[in-house]
Structures are given as structure tokens and as C-alpha cells.
Amino acid sequence: MKVFFKIAWRNVFRNWRRSLLTLLVIAVGLAGLIFTWALADGSAEQSIGNYTDYLTGHVQIQKKGFQKEMSIFLALDNPREVIAKISQDPEIKNFTERIAGRAFISLGEKSAGMVLVGVDPSSEVRVTNMWQAMIAGRYLEPKDRAAMVLGKAMSIRLGANLGDKVAVITQAADGSLGAASYKVVGIYNTGSGAFEGTYAFVTLPAARDLFALEGRSTAIVIKAENLKAVSYLKSSLQARFDPQKVEVLDWGQIIPELLRSIKVREAVANLVLLNVFLIVASGILNTILMAVVERRREFGILMALGTRGYQIVVMVIMESVLLGMFGVLSGSALGGAVVLILDMTGFDLSRFAKYLGTGTPAIPSIIYPIITIERLFILAAMVLVVAVLAAFYPAVKAAALKPAPAIRQMETI
């Protein structure tokens, strides 16, 4: 086997220009693969981060059915009991209580439907970072009883400015009509019109008064230690509650449209990956096929000397794998370097915002690509598999040559 490796190794360097060209195809292709995957991963993680950081948290505990109905009648009966069961969990970084319910908001003659969210500002700021998205005024404070934070889009729709009093009407949990007025103390901007036009925030006691939910809440919002811990945390929490009464939901269930958007982006990235793989495969196939055609006389000689067909196959595939390995090394270095640089500077898509729909929490303008060693290994292994597969056809064709016609170069591949 050593001699076949020696022949394959020397053949790689024999026509170094062609080998270099193939190596470049593989290296640039792999760097492209690494970059594409890193961009998809980075954008997905940022999108998830944006949504979970602004609003949903990583996991929520709700009464069964609330997520689907968003009905105030499906509030948790005893949130204190729920908190007691989770407060010591080491996988939980922070948690907060919330009330969310549908309501009408009006200012003067203008009105709109919305989702009113009651938050506990002191614990909310440790779970979400909406307080950092303020563009005017301030975020809520624990002592606030009649203060509201509005989204930029909603403030424009209502014509509301800081200091204006807005009226809110809703169905309360006791069957009465809940009504209250709040002073606009802050306006936030997330970059997503849909988001800003939907959610308005008041303090938890104010929301409890409005919805007649004394001592109750509609969700416990949890921030996990990190995104990877979410799946485990969700199942671990669910095990502590009767699933017929209490649901533990992860961010993908709370905002399924984001999950769909990420899946679509993943599918697009996979298509790009497939195309690049095809280019890499055809590059390798071309080189190896050319090399085999050019050397069919040599294969004839090797066979005349008694070399078996499978040994010829091994030799040709070794050559391709060697090319693939050189390509993987240089491509990993190139792709890794590009990703590392962009991880620091960010990949700015803002100038394409109009076409790509970037600049929202779901699709950020500046993407910070992420690559993991695991991803690198997967891509490297795939390129090597492609190298073997692409070489297989020329290798088998070479092994099927008949020695005499091959030596006289009468046989074609």
C-alpha cells in the first residue's frame, strides 16, 4: 500500500499547475461553504437573540392553551407556586412574570388593536433588553402605575408623543370591561414595524388592575444560561408540571414564524452548499479524469506488471484524497480567517436592506458569522467524501482498461 501512496503523492506534484488549480477550486469552494454556513448560523443566532432578548425570553411557562388563544381567561392560577418550582434551577439565568392580553388603544380619534404586556421592570431587565431599545423617554420603573412604553410604529399610527395620555379598553378576567389610561413615558424602536405596532408595555401591577388578574400572571418568562441549554431546560421544566394544565414552551413555539424564517434561510444556505459542493466535485472529477486519460498508458504498464484493478482504484482515489486534503487545509485556513475577521467587524448587509428585508429583529443588518469546530469537521469530511466519490468513476474506468490497448493508447476512458 505504501508504494501506491508514494505513486499517488508524486503524481500530485507531477503536474503541479493542474494540482494547484484543483486545490484552488477546493480551497475557495470550502472557504465559501464555511462562510455561507457561518453566515446562516450567525444570522439565525442573532435573529433568535433579538426576539428572545426583546420579548419572548428563551422559555415560557404558561397555562395550557394560552399560547394558542392568548385569552386572559387562561392565566396561570398560581404563579407563585410555579416560581417556587423553578427558582433554584441552575440552568435558569433569570426569570420574570408577565401578563399579556389583547386590547384596544386610542388617542383622540385614532385607535388600534394591540397586545398589552405587563412587566415587572426590576426582573424584566434581567431577562429582556427592551429597555435598551428606547429612542425617546425612558423605560418603565417599578413604581409606575399609569405609565406606558409604546413602539415607534404605534406612536406614529396614533400620533402619540411623550407625555400624551392614551386610553386602553379590554376584556377583563372577571367578565367586566377593563379600561385605563396611561401616560406615554417612552418610545422604543426595534427596527421591525410589525413588532413595534403590536406590543405596548405597562408595569405588571397596572396590567393586573386592568385585566382583573390580582396575584396572577399569564407567563413566567425565562432566560436560559445559553441557547444550547434551551431544549434540555424545556423538557426538564415540563417534567415538573402536569402537561394537561401547564405548558412549557421554547422560543420556537412562542414565535413559530421566526423558526420558519430560520428554516427557510437554512434551506437556502443548504442549496448554496449543494451548489458549491457540485462545483468542487466537478473540479476534482475534471482533474482526476484528465489525469487518468493522460496516464492511461501508465495504467496499462502498471497492469502489465501485474497490478490488480483494485490497486489502481486505490491509487487514483489516494491521489484525489491527497488533493482534497491539501484543499481542505488551505480552504479551512482561508474560510476560518474570513469568518474570524467578519466575526469582529460584522458583515454589513444594510445597503441591501431594501432587497433582503434586513434590519429587523428577524433578519439583522449586520451579521456576525459563527463557525464551530464541529461545522468545520463536517465540511472537511464532506469535501473528502466528495473527493473520493468524484475520483471513483475515473478510478474504476482506469481499472477497467485492458493493458495492451492502454499501453498503445488505443483505448479511451
Binding site: 506488471l305 501485474g306 485492458k402 493493458p403 495492451a404
Partner: protein
């Protein structure tokens, strides 16, 4: 008992719609220790006949027996084994493996045969010394002259002790002096080591040295 025996051997090549008959009803045999020349003009079928008896190509008619084994019934795997263990080849264009050194070229066949490293290296060196190439063992074929390359090919053909060495116009690409030197070397190996040689040629100098000749014309043996 002959090493090689052919019975009504025939070979037809198909080139598009045209059939070219390269060999017709060839009956011949090669006995151990022979120094046999197959002679004839270009296109007479010499190389085709050598390819058939060397298990490099298969006939369209007739039979070939190598050590009484019918080659026309052997699988390609078995044919490769016969070539590896029993036949040495010397080609007109030397046909060395270009990425291997002279020494590695000679060693290659023994590697395939599974001969232990120490024995392999000893035999390869001895063979190269025998053909007068002691100083060129680390050179690749591209760095050797035509005569030197052909000597490496001779060393490669004889090193593993084959039953027969087949040489296809071995002097055709060499000048007359180098060619004569090569033929003297082959004759010496035949006389002193008892190696059986069959070679094709149309070179009178080679024919002179042959102990027996078979004349081919238009794919037939001339009586």
C-alpha cells in the same frame, strides 16, 4: 513441456465498421531456455502475438496455454497474477513508471509479489548492478538516457525470476551500439541464467543473435 503453446490463434480488431485481421491461425510453442525472435515487417502482427502470449490482450479465436493453463479461460484477476508471477516485460518505449526511481521501478514488481523488504532491496540492487546501472539507481526515468531506461526495464523484467521475458522490439528506440549492447546482455542472461526470452524485431542485428526465429507476415507464420 513448452512454457507457451498456441492453437489456431487469431485476433481481429474492429475499427469502426472495418475489421482488421492482425493474427490468423497462429500455432507456435516456446520451450524453456529459448532465445526466440518473432520477426516480420511492421504490421505483420508481432506485437499482437506478444501481447496474446503475455496475457496482455485476449484472442478472438483459438487458445493459448501458459504452463498448460488455458489463458482464454482465465479471469482478468488470474491473468494479472500470471503476469505478476511468471512473465517479465520489456517494451519498445521502455515504459517505466515515471514517478518512481530506477531502483523503485525494479523493486515495484517484487512489492506486488509480497517479497520481504530486505530480500527485495538486495535483489533490486543486484539486478541493477547486473545490467550495469549501479550509479543511476536513484534517478527517475526522465533523468536517464534511452539505453539506461531500457536496462532498467531489463532489470525490472528479470528481477523476480519470471518463467519467460517478453521483449517487444527492445532495440527499436536505441542507437545501434546501445542496441547491440542490450542484446548481448539479454543473450548473456539467457546463457548464464537460463532465462527464456521471446522478442519481436525487424532489426537484422537482433535476428542474428536469436537462436530460433518465427517469421510473421500478414498475421500468419511463414513456413
Amino acid at each position: 513441456m513448452p512454457i507457451i503453446k498456441t492453437e489456431n490463434l487469431g485476433r481481429v480488431y474492429q475499427t469502426g465498421k472495418v475489421e482488421v485481421v492482425a493474427l490468423r491461425m497462429v500455432n507456435m510453442s516456446v520451450e524453456p531456455g529459448e532465445f526466440l525472435a518473432i520477426v516480420g515487417p511492421s504490421g505483420s502482427g508481432k506485437t499482437t502475438l506478444l501481447n496474446m502470449i503475455g496475457a496482455l490482450d485476449s484472442p478472438t479465436h483459438g487458445k493459448i496455454f501458459f504452463d498448460e493453463e488455458d489463458l482464454t479461460k482465465a479471469s482478468s484477476f488470474r491473468l494479472a497474477e500470471i503476469r505478476l508471477m511468471k512473465i517479465g516485460f520489456i517494451f519498445q518505449a521502455y515504459n517505466l513508471i515515471p514517478v518512481l526511481t530506477a531502483f523503485e521501478n525494479v523493486e515495484y514488481v517484487m512489492l506486488l509479489q509480497g517479497i520481504p523488504e530486505r530480500e527485495r532491496k538486495k535483489k533490486a540492487l543486484e539486478a541493477l548492478i547486473e545490467v550495469g546501472l549501479k550509479t543511476c539507481i536513484d534517478r527517475r526515468p526522465g533523468d536517464l538516457s534511452g539505453g539506461q531506461q531500457q536496462r532498467v526495464a531489463v532489470a525490472r523484467a528479470i528481477v523476480s525470476g519470471p518463467k519467460i521475458v517478453l521483449a517487444d522490439e527492445p532495440t527499436a528506440n536505441l542507437d545501434s551500439k546501445t542496441g547491440a549492447g542490450l542484446m548481448d546482455l539479454l543473450l548473456e542472461l539467457n546463457q548464464w541464467k537460463g532465462i527464456t526470452f521471446v522478442f519481436s524485431t525487424h532489426d537484422p542485428m537482433v535476428m542474428e543473435r536469436a537462436k530460433r526465429t518465427i517469421h510473421l507476415r500478414d498475421g500468419r507464420i511463414e513456413e
